[in-house]
Amino acid sequence: MASKIRILIIIFLAVILETSFFPALFAGVIVPDVVLVLIILWSSRKKFEDIWLWAFFAGFFLDLAISQKIGINAISFVIISFVASFLRERFFIAQRTGAFAIALTLVVGGTILNWFLINFLTNFSMNFSWKLLVMKIASNLAVAIFMYFLIARYKRVFGISESKLIMK
């Protein structure tokens, strides 16, 4: 129970970081998707069964915070966590080295997928700026690098148990 509350608090803080801290820090120019990166990094270390509900709640919280239709970020996060988890199990699990590069690759792929899904579900169109997308990928990668080492350093805080690969 305690670890579930801890994960809930982490998601809540990530939502606040994404909607209040980073927009102020970067003057709203480009804001990293902290919650998305967190979900991707979690998905790259966990089974889909252990992460899908958290991905759903993370998206739900973000939808609440940015006052848009409930479900838009939630659906995107669930799909991305499925894809990330699937890729990890099918292709990457055998690789003992390069976990860092794999995680970053998943972040790049997840960012692109999220960008298209959110654009489509919000505006029902695919009109967007390539420049903004590239900047978004760069900012997400920067956050992912920091967060990757943070998670690796404080595995237990983030509910990671490497030996069992389950959400505690």
Binding site: P23, A24, L25, G28, D33, K69, N123
Partner: protein
């Protein structure tokens, strides 16, 4: 075994997608209003603290990056100061002229409204300049549709959602934003819409109306709670709609929305 696992996964995925799609399509906005209200009540102190911390770090980094330019900046400021002193005398005359112009153009005087000052505590995280969160809500008398301006009577958006201690304001640049506007110089009227956070577009301007590059655009006061005379921006580019029925113009906002710190909500006319 792996096949069974995949099936279980897929069921969960399909279930989650189905729930989300139902939420998106049926959009039970009012159903989630209390949940959202509770979330914002809980998040409010965090949002405020995080936003101010982010802003402080932004200011600090700006100072660090510009430290090398201080000497040049100082010399420039001294030079500018001398020039400004010379211009000060002229400004007194211009102020009188400006007041007269405002009266003639029916631009809204600043002391005409009951304003509620508010700090920004959050903004669009997709960087598209669609909305801002402010630290004033229902308990401060804020209501949906109220115009949001900055210090000089420049319109930036209107209140779209109100919570107990915070509100969401939709910026003019949001794609769903639409207000009646007019050209100060020629009185041509049109509808100003947001361009997916990329800028503003004045549309539905009749072919017989005259609009020119550089003209000022203000609110026309037609419909809704929006008063007449709030400044929006300047016309940057003019073109015809594809069907040639109307003219349209790209409008450059008077201020950069991402740089906003403090805004004022017009609660009512005095």
């Amino acid at each position: 075994m792996p096949k069974k696992l995949l099936t279980s996964k897929l069921i969960k995925l399909i279930l989650a997608i189905a729930i989300c799609l139902a939420l998106i399509l049926f959009n039970p906005k009012n159903f989630f209003a209390p949940v959202r209200g509770f979330f914002f009540a809980l998040a409010y102190p965090f949002q405020k603290t995080f936003y101010f911390s982010g802003q402080a770090m932004h200011n600090f980094s700006s100072v660090l990056f510009s430290i090398g330019d201080y000497k040049k900046e100082n010399e420039k400021l001294i030079r500018e100061n001398n020039e400004l002193l010379a211009k000060l005398a002229n400004l007194e005359d211009q102020k009188k002229e400006n007041d007269e112009l405002r009266r003639q153009l029916e631009l809204s005087p600043r002391d005409k409204y009951e304003l509620e000052s508010s700090l920004i505590i959050g903004q669009d995280q997709r960087g598209s300049g669609s909305w801002i969160m402010i630290d004033r809500g229902r308990s401060d008398g804020i209501a949906e549709g109220m115009p949001v301006i900055v210090y000089d009577g420049i319109l930036v958006g209107k209140i779209s959602e109100v919570y107990e201690k915070s509100s969401k304001a939709l910026l003019l640049s949001d794609s769903s934003s639409s207000i009646n506007a007019s050209d100060v110089q020629t009185s041509a009227k049109g509808i100003l819409t947001g361009e997916y956070g990329l800028g503003l577009m004045l549309g539905m301007v009749e072919q017989t109306d005259i609009i020119k590059v550089g003209d000022d655009i203000i609110t026309s006061g037609l419909g809704g709670l929006m008063p007449r005379g709030l400044l929006i921006g300047k016309i940057e580019q003019i073109s015809n709609t594809p069907d040639k029925l109307f003219q349209q113009a790209v409008v450059r906002p008077k201020i950069k929305y991402s740089d906003l710190n403090v805004v004022f909500v017009i609660k009512q006319m005095k």
